[in-house]
């Protein structure tokens, strides 16, 4: 009987089981601090999915799903980009500064600004790739280490030479209204559509293009892909450029769509990069599943705000849940382990 029920337990697909385990362990944590897990979880559900809260969830999902794609694209080829924060900051800083000096009519300027942000962030990311292909520094490390100078220098630039001196905060001057992204409803702007288009493009790239096939082949077996004629070094640089460019787009959407300026810390503090990385890992790099996982984490985090408001349980709990889910999947089902 117990063996049969154990077998039935094993038949639960891996990801729902991991989420279940995360929810159960999270409930224990809430109980241990003397609160009611049911009220906490219902606050999360309502806060994330009630009709009046859905725009907030979607608004949070745009950058998070974006950073999920940033992580998922290289992961599909077995590479890890840990430098999302740096690439995001580079893109956002470019998006905040270019409009101040670019004399062009609104829509043209907006497009130019977004492209400039994507180009700059992509170039910064390919620097990490070149660290691996040229200098033999594992990209895992080079991408992460390049994040710190980007964040530090951006913080300096907006804190000193290009600071908006009329405010007391470390931030740039507001961008002109003409380049701002048009709003759809509430907090939502057309960045949502831009991100949806990028998501569709990544899925199409993954499933329908030669380069996407080569990337998947590399993820399954890099050595085999190399013998099969894939130029691994240039593939690394290209994929990282694309990954960084998406991060740059996320930065541009945040700046042009909601904050209208570069605020020190506003991009790194919400932890989009790391949540995105976890969502990508949850999906094993498969783009469509990664988008779903990113949206799931966005709902969890948006619900976390509501939980904190209503039950005084800190919303970092949602981060703990995410980490538990990933750890369970990595340990129990070998996410990232080559199936051999």
């Amino acid at each position: 009987m117990s063996a049969a029920s154990a077998r039935r337990l094993l038949r639960i697909p891996a990801v729902p089981l991991a989420i279940l385990i995360g929810v159960l362990l999270g409930a224990l944590l809430i109980l241990a601090s003397g609160r009611n897990p049911l009220t906490a979880y219902s606050a999360i559900l309502v806060g994330a999915l009630a009709p009046e809260n859905l725009p907030d969830t979607l608004n949070w999902a745009v950058p998070l799903v974006g950073m999920t794609l940033v992580a998922a694209l290289p992961l599909r080829g077995g590479m890890v980009n840990l430098g999302g924060d740096g690439q995001l900051v580079v893109g956002a800083l470019v998006a905040a500064l270019v409009p101040l000096y670019l004399p062009a009519p609104g829509p043209v300027a907006a497009v130019a600004v977004i492209l400039a942000a994507m180009l700059a962030a992509g170039a910064y990311a390919s620097l990490a790739a070149r660290g691996e292909t040229r200098f033999g520094i594992p990209m895992l490390i080079s991408s992460l280490l390049l994040s710190y100078p980007a964040v530090g220098i951006a913080s300096y630039v907006v804190g000193f030479p290009l600071r908006d001196t009329t405010t007391g905060l470390a931030q740039t001057v507001m961008i002109p209204a003409s380049v701002r992204l048009p709003a759809i409803t509430g907090p939502l702007n057309i960045g949502l559509f831009l991100m949806a288009a990028v998501g569709a493009a990544v899925v199409f790239f993954d499933r329908r293009t030669v380069a996407g096939y080569e990337l998947r082949m590399r993820g399954l077996n890099a050595r085999f892909a190399g013998y099969g004629g894939v130029r691994l070094a240039s593939q690394t640089v290209r994929i990282m450029f694309a990954s960084g460019a998406i991060a740059g787009l996320v930065g541009a959407i945040i700046v042009l769509g909601s904050q209208y300026r570069y605020q020190d810390g506003a991009l790194v503090t919400p932890g989009y990069t790391w949540s995105g990385l976890m969502a990508a890992l949850l999906a094993g790099g498969e783009p469509l599943a990664a988008i779903g996982a990113g949206a799931f984490f966005a709902a969890l985090q948006t619900g976390g705000f509501a939980m904190q408001r209503e039950t005084a349980i800190p919303r970092v709990l949602t981060m703990v849940l995410q980490a538990i889910i990933i750890l369970f999947l990595a340990i129990r089902h070998g996410v990232g382990r080559r199936s051999s």
């Binding site: 040229r134 890992l281 981060m319 980490a323 750890l327 382990r337």
Partner: protein
Amino acid sequence: MMDFITPSLVNSAVQAMTPILLATLAGVLCGRVGVFNMAMEGQLLVGAFAAVVGSYFLGSAFGGVAIAIGATVIFSLVLAYGATIFRGDSVVICIGMNLLASGLTAYLLRQMFGVSGTFSDPGVVGLDKIRIDAINATPWIGWIFSRQTAITWASWLLVAIVTVVMFRTPVGLRLRGVGEDASAAESMGVDVMRYRIVTVLVAGALTGLGGAQLSLGTVDIFSEDMSAGRGWIAVVAVMLGRNHPLWASLACVLFGVADSLSVRLQGQGLPNQLTDVVPYVVTLAALAISHRRPLKGAFVETITAHT
């Protein structure tokens, strides 16, 4: 140049280096048995938090250190068993552990002490600084060792101990064998899994000690994400030292120098946003120089999520 290097600068560099040094030793140990550990960032954080909790509730710094070691060893069980018996991917496990550490310490900080950001309380007992007059009077030696905590002394002693154990004892031989060729070690009757698990846990104890130094060594506070990249620097030190405890320690000294250089530049009026970048730039430069080699064909060895 000489007036640039002052006794207090050397002293603070050594003090700041201690957590990185201990985390580096931990990484070296894990690397030697073939477990890639990049969870030191999270382990340091768990150690730092547990040390403050222990010190606050037990009323003694020693109690804090003991709790820090215990908690970090327990935390390390995830990597110890996940990467061995459960055959999980260590990169993914370590990323998960780092985020779990960051989230869990922030959560517990709010629930246990009711504060967010930073917890400081007179009830947190810091570590005593060791003063030996004979040593303090000697130039250089005195600069380095005067008014340091017992953990700093212990960390340098541990470098020697780890080196001797690794290269001069039968246990060390087996340990290196497990990392170099697991199946060969297995055929010689070495329990590979057990060696890996125990080593990762010992490494956890070392990092926990480093975490205790981080929170109780100088500031006697805990603040969220206070490991602030030190664990990642340790990962780089392990790579630069190619898993050799002495070379990796030397890499730590390089970072210590870079770190105190940044403190020094800050003193010269440069904003801290810029000077904070110095250690990472030095790190990248050191990596680029040490790893520089001509590319052979199209193949590039990579650490991927799939190894």
